[in-house]
Amino acid sequence: MATVDIRGLVKRYGTHQVIQGVDLSIGDGEFVSLIGASGCGKSTLLRMIAGLEEISGGTITINGRVVNAVPPKSRDIAMVFQNYALYPHLTAAENMGFSLKLRNVPKPDIRKAVGDAADMLGLTPYLGRYPRQLSGGQRQRVAMGRAIVRNPSVFLFDEPLSNLDAKLRVQMRSEIKLLQRRLGTTSIYVTHDQIEAMTMSDRIVILNAGRVEQSGAPLDLYDTPANLFVATFIGSPAMNLIEAVAVRDEGRPVAVTQDGLRFGLDGVADIREAMPLTLGMRPGHFDLSREAAVGSMPFAIDVVEQTGAESYVSGTLGAHRMMIAHSGRFATAAGPAFVTLQPGGLHVFDRTTGRRLS
């Protein structure tokens, strides 16, 4: 059981800085996902925690001990690699027991530890097989087993599910989550898949260009994104954005778009007259109908994508292309319709800084 504390962490390759001063505190037993686009530094950050990358600046503290100069094997961590990194010349059991063998743990103890982990992961019938004789999902489990057997303070996962097919990924997602809850081990999970991050984590850390954009519980990030980057990164389909300017109308603040759409800004703090804004609206926060209603806006549908449970309706609201997620089926194809934004469905951002105004 352990806490991980990261202070002012910096990673440079020559003059190129890939991690630009990251601060992050991870509580005991917490499951934290690091998420961001390719090249945002999330894997580098994880590898720095593991000790596979040198630290250019700042500190990493695991369980109260600064580990900057501690070799990987003494950091009391275990890592699950994207390509599993199983030793091809060793059986599943030997792979899982490798770290214990290196520590000269007596053979019966290794056998017991491997057997327990295999039980937990449903690997018992496959212990004698070599990695090449195992399916992708089984290899993934062996890699997990190798981490579990060591009984580390911290699990590090580097996109462990990205090599599995979609169906297996969904299954392993909940298995990993259950396992982590059962073992109560602090876990740091790198992924580029926001669904994985949303469904598995206690907390998500969104990285962009080597910086933390926002850190918080999955639904908090969804409901109150701190800035435009987070707003567009979390949520699928992505949030609709339109540009507007703040004006006063009969003493009340209103956002007006160039084509004349108006959105009330009551309750939004820090609004100044003529302030450039970006308005965000999640696709799922609209009511779509064929008839006009009070407060509804005309919406010209051009494409309807049916997924069964939901319909993704694309069209134009004024001069803006929008995507609306309609729960259930929206049978009609192209044509005129009306949308109403649900209460609380408007996210307001300062267009200059990208920050949320609330």
Partner: protein, 285 residues
């Protein structure tokens, strides 16, 4: 069927014509007395083989060849592995270093041996010059006067030429190991030595067996180096030189064939041990 036969035919013709037919003819002839100086070619059974076993000159050549094999295999494998490990670590300019490394291997064996003959020359050779300069010897030495030294120096010239091949084979094997495995080993607690012994070595076993086999076979067939450096000297005479002398100098053709067959069996037997004991197929998929 016909198409399959067309594809198989070239290899059958080449291997049959250049390997299996001569091998069969030699094997059969080794049981006859084939000697242009004497009439008829009577069947003699194992007489040729029996004479080879008791002939002291042949025994000496076997001893020499054995020494070549031991020196060559040990030095080429250790040196080649060392070179491969170094080359594997180099990130920039590896292509150029690799090109330089394989240069001795590209030289014709005769040219290589002549270069070294000059180096070993007792009166104007570089080796004596350097050792004298360093004060390690008091006067010029005739290196090939002592059998042990002579065998070692002939082996050295052979190793100089053949080590690059071992290095290239092992480098290829090393490069096929994914870097992640070393990272996993590091996290599992393996230092450089254990990582080499428990991860690298088992994963290059296939390449190692091939490298060992080729070292052995080429050392068994050593001819040029010993012939150029010391001619037919009994101190350095290899089995293949003995085959040449028996068959084409003494004109006892069938006796030479018998000896060449024994040499072939010898090198095959040793290679078989590597393949059975060292070779391990490892797939990464």
């Amino acid at each position: 069927m016909a198409l399959a036969a067309v594809f198989v035919l070239p290899i059958l013709v080449i291997m049959g014509g250049l390997v299996f037919y001569p091998l069969a003819v030699s094997t059969v002839d080794s049981f006859y007395r084939v000697d242009p100086m004497r009439p008829d070619t009577p069947f003699v059974g194992f007489a040729n083989y029996a004479r080879l076993v008791t002939d002291s000159t042949v025994q000496a050549s076997w001893f020499n060849t054995l020494a070549y094999v031991v020196f060559a295999v040990v030095l080429e494998t250790l040196g080649g592995l060392g070179a491969a490990l170094l080359l594997d670590r180099i990130r920039h300019g590896r292509r150029w270093l690799l090109a330089i490394t394989v240069l001795p291997w590209c030289l014709p064996p005769v040219v290589n041996a002549i270069v070294w003959m000059w180096i070993f020359n007792p009166s104007y050779g570089l080796l004596n010059k350097v050792l004298l300069g360093l004060g390690l010897i008091a006067q010029n030495k005739v290196w090939f006067n002592d059998q042990a030294t002579a065998l070692f120096l002939v082996s050295l010239v052979h190793v100089w030429r053949m080590m690059p091949l071992t290095a290239v084979i092992l480098l290829a094997a090393l490069q096929s190991i994914p870097g992640e495995l070393y990272e996993a080993a590091k996290l599992d607690g393996a230092g450089p030595v254990k990582s080499f012994r428990l991860v690298t070595l088992p994963l290059i076993a296939g390449g190692l067996a091939i490298a060992l086999s080729q070292s052995t076979v080429f050392a068994f067939n050593l001819f040029d180096e010993a012939w150029i450096l010391a001619g037919s000297s009994i101190d350095t005479r290899s089995v293949i030189i003995q085959v040449y002398l028996t068959a084409f100098q003494s004109m006892r053709l069938s006796s030479g064939m018998a000896l060449s067959i024994l040499a072939m069996i010898g090198s095959l037997a040793v290679s078989l041990v590597y393949v059975l004991k060292v070779y391990r197929e490892t797939r990464y998929d």
